[in-house]
């Protein structure tokens, strides 16, 4: 038996490792995705004052600290039994939208995009942001950097720090937005909408206009039939900041709809020995292993899941794009993992449109940003949609508001079982008779990249560097072949 280890996999946030096990004929017996790290936030949160959680938990992930900050802050509202004033809600959602747009843009141009813009088997030294710049032009790259910078500046204005924000408090936010900033925010909103539309056009031209890529997106290498989970508003439209959790089954039918507080009634997690990450599944179905299809108990989160779960988008331009996506695939739900890249851009447009709406709200600049009318703290749940999917924070506290319990189901964990399945399927379809090459391995990596791996991307911002080692090891641990991607 041979083992192929893809380690590190690149353009991924955090640490991860793919093992591909071949049988004696060189065909894939199984591929798994391991998370080799654990930091123990749930344990060391205990004993900390609840109000510290938005800042402490943002350190779970420096790529989506804002999402953790937001979920934690909402959990505090619930824990302290307090409703933030409208201005605070508007400011929080504005920051969330700014974060969502810049993060989605980062993914499209820096991480996932290169596979499409350059093609999945383009030479690795070209398959990066510089390669993208070569195709789309320097001016556009400048635009990406510029819009990202302006969005990050807006986040700094409202939230103190763009990485690890400091503005969330139970019942409100720490800082008001002065009226003098309004016109700038409105302008930024309009520019972000244009940027989103431009990005969607680019995607259409490059991906949908290319037969091979379209086939990859709509074909069966990257395809798993699962349940989907996401937040929806009262009209079942997609909402990134607030609402009820809705789950649709693999046929697209609503299976569950519940309040954040009831999450533990519906979601359970399974533990394996070979990874530090847990595998969530729907409690009513039970743990059935890494299986998809009509009986699957696994669910997926992230952009495509959110679109699958929602009946539509709450903003007009995004709604039109939403319809276009489902027309292309011939109905709902879409199970094609790579469609996440398209769904991500539709969300980018939605979040940008939301910025323009929020920027016009009279209450956005109200100084009334705090409600101090707290109840006795006891227990609270906060759920938001992080760029990478539904994010759940759950705290319990004593009556002083000191934590006695903490449970976190982070977005990528929501997808952990599905990532394993996607990699397994792609590996099985792509690697035959022991034949492995760099292009094929990148296509295996694309199976997880669609879920929006993140930061290692930075690698790709710079020339020629993408450390990836693939080793083919026999059962005695001897390396019989080594592929290197530099």
């Amino acid at each position: 038996m041979k083992t192929i280890t893809v380690d590190p996999i690149t353009r991924l946030e955090g640490h991860g490792k793919i093992n591909i096990f071949l049988d004696d004929d060189g065909n894939v017996q199984k591929a798994i995705f391991q998370v080799p790290e654990l930091r123990g936030f749930e344990a060391f949160a205990i004993g900390r004052p609840a109000e510290d959680m938005p800042q402490i938990t943002s350190r779970i992930c420096g790529v989506c600290p804002t999402a953790h900050h937001m979920a934690a802050t909402k959990a505090l509202d619930d824990l302290f039994k307090v409703t933030p004033p409208p201005a605070a809600k508007a400011i929080r959602e504005l920051v969330n939208c700014a974060f969502m747009t810049e993060d989605h843009a980062l993914h499209f141009y820096f991480l996932g995009g290169p596979d499409f813009v350059l093609g999945p088997s383009a030479p690795p030294e070209q398959r990066n942001i510089l390669g993208v710049v070569g195709v789309v032009g320097k001016e556009i790259a400048g635009q990406v950097i510029d819009i990202r910078r302006r969005l990050r500046d807006l986040m700094a204005l409202c939230a103190g720090k763009p990485i690890h924000p400091v503005f969330g408090l139970p019942g409100g936010v720490a800082k008001a937005i002065p009226e003098s900033e309004r016109t700038q925010i409105q302008q930024l909103g309009r520019d972000t909408v244009k940027f989103a539309q431009f990005s969607l056009d680019l995607f259409r031209k490059i991906v949908l206009g290319n037969k091979d890529l379209l086939e990859l997106v709509t074909g069966d290498i990257y395809y798993n039939e699962t349940n989907y989970m996401g937040l929806v508003d009262a009209d079942n439209r997609l909402n990134l900041y607030d609402g009820d959790v809705r789950v649709v089954d693999p046929a697209g039918k609503e299976r569950l709809k519940f309040k954040p507080q009831d999450y533990a009634k519906h979601i359970a997690e399974h533990v394996e020995e070979w990874t530090y990450v847990k595998f969530p599944y729907l409690r009513d179905v039970g743990w059935r292993g890494f299986v998809d299809g009509p009986d699957s108990g696994l669910y997926r989160v992230a952009p495509l899941a959110r679109l699958n779960v929602a009946d539509g988008m709450a903003t007009p331009l995004a709604q039109a794009e939403y319809e276009r996506l489902y027309e292309t695939f011939g109905g709902k739900p879409v199970h094609h993992t790579l469609a996440n890249h398209w769904a991500r851009l539709i969300e980018l447009l939605y979040a940008a449109e939301r910025i323009t709406e929020l920027a016009d709200l009279p209450e956005l600049t109200s100084p009334d940003i705090r409600n101090l009318d707290f109840g006795i703290p006891s227990e609270g749940v906060g759920i938001v949609e992080a760029p990478r999917g539904t994010l759940i924070h759950h705290y319990k506290s004593d009556e002083r508001g000191v934590l006695t319990g903490c449970n976190l189901i982070v977005a990528t964990v929501g997808n952990s079982a599905a990532i394993c399945m996607s990699i397994d399927r792609a590996a099985k379809k792509l690697i035959k008779n022991g034949n492995v090459n760099e292009g094929l391995l990148n296509m295996v990596e694309m199976a997880f990249r669609a879920y929006d791996p993140c930061l290692s991307c930075a690698t790709h911002a710079l020339p020629g560097e993408m450390p990836l080692a693939v080793e083919i090891i026999d059962s005695k641990g001897v390396i019989v072949q080594r592929l290197e991607r530099r």
């Binding site: 590190p8 930091r39 060391f44 900390r48 004052p49 990485i163 359970a268 399974h270 930061l455």
Partner: protein, 338 residues
């Protein structure tokens, strides 16, 4: 002959990724940096065979920036390897520098972490009591996980560190000036923290409102009152770590109307940031008797997590191993020897 550009490496240990993101936030300046150096590893990420790094000559990398704390044998191993291959090693960010927020895990135990995460969580269903193992079988196939240690360590508890860039994360401007100083060879003495030598209070926009003889009668948690955006937090009875925190962040939290939580670590001359903060803050207590002082002190809900928020592993509370403890070849920590 073309002059060789200096080789630079980035590596992350137990990191949240924020330290890497702050490099992306250099925006356009990143292209200048990329022009001036040859980035050989970024993120070096984890390569079980480490052959990219091993293939380099000792000292071949001009400077390695390492962020994140050290929690697994693998992180310790890679840092040692990078030390060997690098002229300079810079601890990047508060996790590598002083332990950071993940270092709060040292206030609990490995066992507690596993119990909370894999047994007691309200969503976990684990009748068989499964927990992750270093060596295990996935469907009959052998796989390994890095060993998860009892404690979190700072980078300089494992390897010799030349310089430190503080902050959680360090702000882009500071990163740029540190990188420039390194490239131009304008470096202070070894072991220096590459940030201003003043305390945050000295540069804080609210410093004028901080009086010499402030006395506080009640400590307020940040959510309990609406803080006046102009007045010193300590004056308002809200704990602010400014008196024992190094400046250089641009007072971003203060400008966001939130108190400093101390992410830049101690200013020069202060060994234990938390101890210094405790003495700074207790001197403000308006207490005549010991009992009154104790009463005030009890109002601080979580002293360890408040005063040592980013420094538990490097503090006196800390982490029980000695600096640069001998590490066996397999990277496993010998607890007795340590």
């Amino acid at each position: 002959m073309i002059k060789q550009k200096p080789k630079v490496a980035f590596y992350w240990c137990a990191s949240c990724g924020g330290c890497e993101e702050t490099v992306v936030d250099l925006n356009a300046a990143i292209l200048d940096v990329a022009d001036a150096v040859d980035i050989v590893l970024w993120p070096v990420a984890l390569d079980f065979k480490y052959h990219h790094i091993e293939a380099l000559k000792d000292g071949d990398i001009a400077v390695s920036f390492i962020n994140g704390a050290i929690r697994t044998n693998e992180q310790a191993h890679i840092s040692k390897l990078l030390r060997q291959k690098s002229g300079l090693v810079v601890a990047f960010g508060s996790c590598a520098h002083t332990g950071g927020i993940p270092g709060l895990a040292n206030l609990t135990s490995r066992e507690e972490i596993f119990r909370t995460s894999f047994h007691e969580s309200p969503t976990v269903v684990n009748a068989s009591g499964t927990v992750p193992q270093e060596d295990s079988l996935a469907d009959g196939m052998p796989v390994r996980l890095p060993a998860f240690w009892e404690e979190v360590h700072t980078l300089d508890q494992w390897i010799d560190v030349d310089y430190y860039i503080p902050g959680c994360p360090p702000p882009p401007a500071l990163v740029l000036s540190a990188v420039t100083a390194i490239l131009e060879g304008k470096l202070p003495e070894k072991g220096s923290v590459l940030a201003p030598a003043k305390a945050l209070c000295d540069t804080c926009p609210r410093r004028k409102t901080k009086s010499e003889n402030t006395k506080i009668t009640k400590i307020h948690r940040p959510h309990e009152i609406i803080a006046d955006p102009e007045i010193c937090f300590l004056e308002q009875g809200i704990i602010c770590c400014g008196p024992a925190t190094r400046s250089g962040c641009g007072e971003v939290c203060i400008n966001g109307n939130m108190p400093c939580t101390g992410c830049f670590g101690p200013p020069p001359g202060v060994i234990d940031q938390g101890a210094k903060l405790i003495s700074a803050i207790s001197s403000l207590f308006n207490a005549k008797t010991k009992e009154e002082a104790m009463e005030m002190a009890r109002q601080v809900v979580d002293p360890a997590g408040t005063f040592h928020r980013y420094t538990v592993p490097s503090s006196l509370l800390g982490c029980r191993i000695h600096k640069k403890a001998a590490m066996p070849a397999d990277g496993r920590m010998d607890r007795e020897a340590a």
